[in-house]
């Protein structure tokens, strides 16, 4: 009937490249969105823009040098990365870590969790348009960075741990400052909640958005808050305690509906639980050395090991193979939580609107340095 050539017009589908340079893809994530109007029909998640080959590099560094490479993975939670790596090597070499060092490590890891969640909360709220929360959260994160600076001299990439313990004991009076920070933080969390938790617009933007069932979450290999948001009880700190977590009393918050709002509530509750852990650790901080008996030249026996810890983003695992001859790992592999959680983005995003896409990128809390390594 019609004689005109058909490709004269666009089809209904609009393809949009979100990123790699987009204000709310949290780094250099690129999403190729296929839109029908404003609705997302399909999405391709493209990554690798900050791939630096950390795993391969590590196979040519000696065991201590790798610590500062791990800093560069999840650069907003460097101390946690250090902790995971050092514990894996300790497990491989069967080194006993002094109790005081384990306590301080726990404090550092939990401070880091608060800092990471602060950054997450700020950017997540900013993505949804609440810009004041962003600056409030960064204000508190700054206090943590000050604490880290006093402890190890760095503010972002700390290089704060060593195989077998810690490079330094805590400075005098540092524990009191951490205690003071806990008090401040405890007072500030309600401030965030006041701006968001019962805010009607916030509820409308997060409730029922990006719902994922427990089975799907497990099937996709999600971990950390996105998994717990779907009411799956999984926290490495409880399931396979490391550092000194088995000596402290804390709870693992769980969601019920598995939506963005639940994941938000979980992370806010984790603020409180982290403060609780830090206080217990400070109260029970034992005396003693901070470095175990470690040979000058680290040279593990031939063997392989996998060890996981609970980073702020989820389960951070290291798999290391040593051939027993060289002073560097034969094989070094990281199970990054951001990467695994990013798997969940596509099923979460499909069917939602463009405006929700940024909220959903925020809710899974990815750090591209860790995704790409």
């Amino acid at each position: 009937m019609t004689t005109a050539p058909s490709p004269m017009f666009d089809t209904d589908e609009l393809v949009i490249n979100m990123g790699p340079q987009h204000p709310s893809t949290h780094g250099v994530l690129r999403l190729v969105l296929k839109l029908d109007g404003e609705k997302v029909k399909d999405v391709d998640v493209v990554m690798g823009y900050v791939h630096r080959g950390i795993e391969k590099l590590s196979e040519n560094r000696d065991w201590t040098q790798i610590i500062l490479l791990t800093d560069r993975m999840d650069y907003v939670a460097a101390a946690t990365n250090n902790l995971g790596y050092c514990e894996t090597v300790e497990k491989l070499m069967e080194i006993e870590v002094p109790r005081r060092a384990r306590y301080i490590r726990t404090i550092l890891a939990e401070l880091q969790r608060i800092a990471s969640h602060c950054l997450w909360l700020g950017t997540h709220a900013m993505d949804i348009g609440a810009m004041t929360v962003f600056l409030y959260a960064f204000r508190e994160r700054e206090l943590i960075l000050d604490l880290f600076e006093e402890y190890c001299g760095a503010r972002l990439t700390y290089n704060s741990m060593r195989v077998g313990g810690l490079p330094l004991d805590i400075p005098t009076g540092w524990d009191e400052k951490v205690r003071a920070f806990c008090d401040v933080m405890e007072a500030k969390v309600p401030e965030y909640e006041e701006l968001l938790t019962n805010n009607r617009i916030w509820l409308e933007r997060t409730r029922g958005i990006g719902v994922i069932s427990a089975e799907d979450a497990i099937g996709l290999g999600l971990c950390g808050p996105p998994l717990r948001g779907s009411a799956v009880y999984r926290d490495v700190r409880k399931d396979e305690p490391y550092a000194a977590y088995d000596e402290f009393d804390f709870e693992v918050p769980l969601g019920t509906r598995g939506d963005t709002y639940d994941r938000y509530l979980i992370r806010l509750e984790e603020f409180r639980q982290s403060i609780r852990i830090i206080r217990q650790a400070l109260d029970g901080l034992p005396e003693g050395p901070v470095m175990g008996k470690v040979p000058r030249l680290l040279k593990p026996k031939a063997g392989e090991t996998y060890h996981a810890i609970e980073s702020p983003k989820g389960e951070l695992g290291y798999f290391i193979v040593s051939d027993g001859r060289a002073t560097n790992p034969y094989r070094f592999r990281v199970r990054p939580p951001s990467f695994c959680n990013l798997q969940g983005l596509r099923p979460l995003v499909i069917g939602h609107l463009v405006a929700d896409v940024v909220a959903l990128i925020g809710t899974i809390d990815v750090v591209l340095g860790e995704v790409d390594r």
Binding site: T3, A4, M8, F9, D10
Partner: protein, 171 residues
């Protein structure tokens, strides 16, 4: 004198923009000329002391109807020349000739009628209890022309429902 200059300026603008509307290649340009045309017509209404109509012209035509056209053009997302295909039975020359004939006819009527009633018939004074253009218009609309007014509102309602039904994606 000022009125004369104003009238001719406006006439030139209105007719020129109308020609541009009809001839523009790009549909969006055409729409923009249409908006300017309507704004000029609104100024003409002000000259004719119909301020209310002038504002309604801007509000409904320029601010409402033409925005609809613009949205539709953007939704339709024309890529190529919309007029690529021409029906062989279409005869544009005859169309132009017909339009010319219409113009001639109108001119003829005009010349004929302007000769016959040079004297302005004194209008039978409408007994309007209110003063001012807007008030009188409102008075007329809600008294003598109440039923047409209601019919118009029903028409708009029907049009609204019809448009929603037509534009709905899945029927």
């Amino acid at each position: 004198m000022a009125e004369t200059i104003g009238f001719y300026t406006l006439s030139v603008l209105i007719l020129g923009l109308a020609v541009l509307v009809v001839t523009a290649k790009n549909t969006v340009h055409s729409i923009l000329f249409l908006v300017m045309n309507f704004l000029c017509v609104a100024v003409l209404y002000v000259v004719l002391q119909a301020e209310f109509l002038a504002v309604i012209q801007v509000l409904v035509y320029a601010g409402g109807i033409v925005v609809l056209y613009l949205i539709v053009v953007m939704l339709v997302n024309l890529k190529g020349e919309a007029e690529a295909h021409q029906d062989p039975r279409r005869l544009s020359v005859i169309g132009l000739a017909l339009a010319g004939a219409v113009l001639l006819e109108l001119a003829g009527i005009l010349v004929y009628s302007s000769g016959s009633d040079a004297a302005v018939p004194s209008s039978e004074a409408v007994a309007s209890p209110v003063q001012g253009n807007v008030e009188e218009l409102g008075w007329l609309l809600y008294t003598d022309y109440l039923i047409p007014f209601e019919v118009a509102s029903v028409l708009l309602l029907v049009a609204m429902i019809g448009a929603i039904l037509l534009a709905r994606r899945e029927v």
